[in-house]
C-alpha cells in the first residue's frame, strides 16, 4: 500500500464561498478511488487540486502532496485538452523527445517512437500509429479519451485523474472505458475517478468518497458503502431507479406520427435509414443505439430541423413539410423537440420564464400576460418556482434548465414530444426527478405521444415501444418488454448484455 498522492484538509474558496471544504483523499498505487456526488458538489475542483490547478482567484488552504508531481489527467471532454491545430501525435512526440534527450542523437528518434507506441498500446490503442496522423476532430470521443490517457501513461504518471469518463457514452463504450481504467490500475497506477455514473463507480472503485456541497459526507471501501450506506444523502444517491414502465400503454386511436422511407444525409453520406416507424397517440417510444447511430438525426428529421432527407414524416396522416420554416404554426406546435443540451438551447440574455412563455404566444396566440402566467404555472408544475426562473439561464443548474426546456416544449400542447437524451450528464437524484416529471406528464396528457432518445436502458424501460438504431439502420423495433428481454438483433443483444455485465460486475 504505497500512498502516491494525498490531499489533506483541502479548502477552496472563491468569491467568499467554499466550493470545497475540508476534503481528505488518499490515493494508493494500483487502486481506484471514486468521488461521487451531485452536480456542483466539488468533484472536479478536488480532482484538479491534485494537478495544482484551481479556479482563478481562489483561496486555497490545506495540503496537496504527490510523489513526483506527475499527475495524468483525463478530463470529461478530452477534446478540450487536444490541440485543435496540431495532429494527434504532436504532444506525444514532444513528451517522448523530452524523455530521450539524454540519449545519443542517433538513437533518439527510434527510442521516442518506441515509447510512444508502448504508451498507445497500454492505453489500448494498438493501431495508434495511423491515428496519430489525424487531427483531434477526426477521432471519435472514445479514441480521444484513450489518446489523452496514453499521454498520461507516456509521462509515467503515478496518478491519473479521470473526470466523468463515461458521461454521454453508450453502454458499449462505457464498458471499454471501464476496461481501460481497470487496466491502468493493474499497472500500479493510482486512479482518481470522478463520476456520477454509479454503475461505473460500482464496477471499478476500490474506495468511494461521497461529496455534497463541497464536503465529503461519507467515505469507505466500495463494498461497504454500497451495502451499508450510512449517510442519508448516500442512501438517496444510491437508491435504484424505479423499475416501473410508467402507466399502462393507453394506445387507443391510430398512430399520430408515422415515418415512411426516411433516408437522412449529412453532406452526401447517408447517416440514417428508417423504412417504417410509427407512434400511437399516448404511446411512448424509446430510441436507443450507440453514439453516432443516428438517434439525434432521426429526432431532428421529425422536428423539421434536419432538412437533408428523403421520405415522409406524417402527422395524423398528413405529410409534414421537411423544413421548420415551411411548417405552419399548428404543425410547429404539434411536434416539439427538447434539445439534448438545454443550456445551449436558451438565449443567455433573456429571462427563462419569458422564453418559455413565447411558445404560448407564438404557437397558440395567447396574450403575453396570460402566456406568462401559464409559463409560471408550467414551470411550477415541474418543480421550478420562485425567483431563479425570472432571471437568465446561467443562474439555473443543468437539471433545472432541462426542466425549463421541457416546460417550453409542453406549453405548445404538442401531439408529439421528442426528448433527446435529456437525462444524460445528470446525477441520479436529479435524473430521477426528471423522469418522474415525464411520467406525470404522460398522465396529465394522455393523448400525447412521447419519443425518448437515450442510451440508457433504464430510461428506455419507461417506454411502451423501443426502436434500436445501429449505424444508421433501424435494426429492431417492438414492445419494450419484448425487445429488452428477448433481443434478436446482435446489437441489441450486446447492448442489453453489456448493461447486465456492468451491473453484474458492480455486484461482484
Amino acid at each position: 500500500m504505497t500512498v502516491v498522492a494525498e490531499i489533506r484538509k483541502l479548502r477552496v474558496e472563491t468569491g467568499g464561498r467554499a466550493i470545497v471544504d475540508g476534503v481528505d483523499v488518499r490515493l494508493v498505487a494500483g487502486r481506484i478511488t471514486a468521488l461521487v456526488g451531485a452536480s456542483g458538489s466539488g468533484k472536479t475542483t478536488t480532482g484538479l487540486a491534485l494537478l495544482g490547478a484551481y479556479p482563478a482567484g481562489a483561496r486555497v488552504s490545506g495540503e496537496v502532496r504527490t510523489v513526483d508531481g506527475l499527475v495524468g489527467y483525463v478530463p470529461q471532454h478530452p477534446g478540450a485538452v487536444l490541440n485543435p491545430a496540431r495532429r494527434a501525435g504532436a504532444l506525444l512526440h514532444d513528451i517522448a523527445r523530452v524523455q530521450t534527450r539524454a540519449m545519443p542523437r542517433a538513437e533518439r528518434r527510434a527510442a521516442a517512437r518506441e515509447r510512444v507506441l508502448h504508451a498507445l498500446s497500454l492505453a489500448q490503442l494498438p493501431d495508434g500509429e495511423t491515428l496519430l496522423r489525424r487531427y483531434p476532430h477526426q477521432l471519435s470521443g472514445g479514441q480521444q479519451q484513450r489518446l489523452v490517457l496514453a499521454q498520461a501513461l507516456l509521462v509515467g504518471a503515478r496518478v491519473v485523474v479521470a473526470d466523468e469518463p463515461t458521461t454521454g457514452q453508450d453502454a458499449l463504450t462505457k464498458r471499454r472505458v471501464v476496461d481501460q481504467l481497470a487496466e491502468v490500475a493493474r499497472q500500479g497506477i493510482a486512479v482518481l475517478l470522478l463520476s456520477h455514473d454509479l454503475d461505473v463507480v460500482q464496477a471499478l472503485a476500490d474506495e468511494v468518497l461521497v461529496m455534497r456541497d463541497g464536503n465529503v459526507v461519507e467515505s469507505g471501501p466500495a463494498d461497504r458503502l454500497w451495502h451499508a450506506p450510512r449517510h442519508p444523502w448516500t442512501r438517496e444517491l444510491l437508491a435504484t431507479p424505479p423499475a416501473s414502465a410508467g402507466p399502462a400503454p393507453a394506445e387507443g386511436a391510430g398512430p399520430v406520427l408515422q415515418v415512411r422511407d426516411l433516408t437522412a444525409r449529412h453532406g452526401g453520406t447517408v447517416v440514417l435509414r428508417a423504412d417504417v416507424l410509427s407512434l400511437g397517440a399516448g404511446g411512448c417510444l424509446a430510441v436507443v443505439g450507440r453514439s453516432g447511430s443516428g438517434k439525434t438525426t432521426l429526432a431532428r428529421c421529425l422536428a423539421g430541423l434536419h432538412r437533408d432527407h428523403d421520405g415522409d414524416v406524417l402527422l395524423d396522416g398528413v405529410p409534414l413539410p421537411r423544413s421548420l420554416r415551411a411548417r405552419s404554426r399548428g404543425q410547429l406546435a404539434s411536434v416539439q423537440y427538447v434539445f439534448q443540451d438545454a443550456r445551449a438551447a436558451f438565449d443567455e440574455h433573456r429571462p427563462v420564464v419569458d422564453q418559455v412563455a413565447r411558445t404560448a404566444v407564438r404557437l397558440r396566440g395567447v396574450a403575453p400576460d396570460r402566456a406568462r402566467a401559464e409559463a409560471l404555472d408550467a414551470l411550477a408544475g415541474l418543480g421550478l418556482t420562485g425567483e431563479p426562473v425570472r432571471r437568465g439561464p446561467d443562474e439555473l443548474s443543468g437539471g433545472e434548465l432541462q426542466r425549463a426546456a421541457l416546460a417550453r416544449a409542453v406549453l405548445a400542447r404538442p401531439q408529439v414530444l421528442v426528448c433527446d437524451e435529456i437525462t444524460s450528464g445528470l446525477d441520479t437524484v436529479t435524473r430521477r426527478s426528471l423522469l418522474d416529471v415525464l411520467a406525470a406528464l404522460r398522465r396529465t396528457r394522455p393523448d400525447m405521444g412521447l419519443i425518448l432518445i437515450t442510451h440508457d436502458l433504464d430510461v428506455a424501460a419507461l417506454a411502451t415501444h423501443v426502436v434500436v438504431l445501429d449505424g444508421g439502420e433501424l435494426v429492431e423495433q417492438g414492445p419494450t418488454r419484448e425487445v429488452l428481454s428477448r433481443p434478436r438483433h446482435p446489437f441489441t443483444v450486446s447492448l442489453t448484455e453489456t448493461s447486465a455485465l456492468l451491473t453484474a460486475r458492480a455486484r461482484v
Binding site: A333, A345, L363
Partner: protein, 261 residues
C-alpha cells in the same frame, strides 16, 4: 481592465470633446495672416492659408469625427443585414447573391477604389463617408456573417424556430445581440482604418475640400510647413492618434472582458 477602459475613455475623450464642443468656442475668424507664421496672437501659429491654427483645431474635429463615425456606422448599417441574412438564410443562392459581389469588391484595392470613385464623383464630406463606408462593407459583412453564422447555428436559434419566432426576433433579438461584442471589437479597428483612409485619401488629393477645417486635411495640407510651423501638423495629428488609440483601448477592454467571461 477597468483602468484600461478608463484610460481609453480619457484618451478618446479629449479629441471627442474638442470635436463636438470645439465649434461652439471657435468664435469669429480673425483676419488672415501670412501662412505658417507663429506669434501675433496666434497661439498655435497660422496654417497654409494664414488662418489661426487654434481656431481650425476647434473647428476641424467635427468633420473628422463625423465622417469617421458615420462611415463606420454606415458600413455596419449595410453589412449587418447583409451578414445576418447571409448567415441565417438556408437558401444557398441568396447567400451567394449577397456575398459574392462583396468578394469582388474585396479584391479591388481600397485605395484604388477610393481614388477612382472619388475622381469620378468628387465627393463632399457625405460622399466621402459613403465611399469609405462602401470600401469597408465587404470586410465588415464577412465578419458579421462569420460571427452570425456561428451564433445562428446554435441550438438556441433552432429552439426559437421551433417556437415559431419572427425573423426579426431571431436575427436582431438573438443573433444580432450575440455578435454585438465581436462587432464592437471589430468596430474599434475599423474606426482606425476609416480615419486612416480619410487621412490618406487627403494625402492623395481626394475627398474633403482642400482647405476644409478638418484635422486630417490639416495634417496633409500643413505638411509643407512642418519645419517652419510644426504645430499646424503636430496638434491635429496627435488628436487623430489620440482618437484612434483611445477608441482601440476602449474596444480592447471590451474584448478583454469578453475573453474573461
Amino acid at each position: 481592465m477597468r483602468s484600461r477602459a478608463a484610460l481609453g475613455v480619457l484618451v478618446m475623450g479629449v479629441p471627442l470633446a474638442l470635436a463636438l464642443l470645439g465649434p461652439l468656442f471657435a468664435g469669429e475668424p480673425g483676419p488672415r495672416a501670412a501662412s505658417f507664421t507663429l506669434g501675433n496672437g496666434h497661439w498655435l501659429g497660422t496654417d497654409f492659408t494664414g488662418r489661426d491654427v487654434g481656431r481650425e483645431i476647434l473647428l476641424g474635429g467635427r468633420s473628422v469625427v463625423l465622417v469617421a463615425l458615420a462611415a463606420t456606422l454606415l458600413a455596419y448599417v449595410v453589412a449587418l443585414p447583409l451578414g445576418l441574412i447571409g448567415a441565417l438564410t438556408h437558401r444557398t443562392w441568396l447567400e451567394e447573391l449577397l456575398m459574392r459581389p462583396l468578394d469582388v469588391l474585396l479584391a479591388v484595392p481600397s485605395l484604388l477604389m477610393i481614388l477612382l470613385v472619388a475622381s469620378v464623383l468628387t465627393p463632399d464630406a457625405t460622399g466621402l463617408a459613403l465611399l469609405v463606408a462602401l470600401v469597408n462593407i465587404p470586410d465588415a459583412a464577412r465578419i458579421v456573417r462569420a460571427a452570425a453564422a456561428e451564433a445562428a447555428s446554435r441550438p438556441a436559434v433552432e429552439a426559437l424556430r421551433m417556437q415559431g419566432e419572427t425573423w426579426w426576433r431571431m436575427a436582431v433579438g438573438y443573433v444580432g445581440r450575440s455578435v454585438a461584442r465581436t462587432l464592437a471589437a471589430d468596430a474599434g479597428v475599423r474606426l482606425t482604418g476609416v480615419l486612416y483612409l480619410v487621412a490618406t485619401a487627403a494625402f492623395l488629393g481626394v475627398g474633403v475640400a482642400p482647405d476644409a477645417s478638418d484635422w486630417a486635411v490639416m495634417v496633409d495640407r500643413n505638411r509643407t510647413g512642418l519645419f517652419v510651423q510644426p504645430w499646424a501638423v503636430v496638434v491635429p495629428a496627435l488628436l487623430i492618434v489620440a482618437l484612434t488609440m483611445g477608441g482601440n483601448l476602449l474596444f480592447d477592454a471590451l474584448l478583454e472582458k469578453r475573453r474573461r467571461v
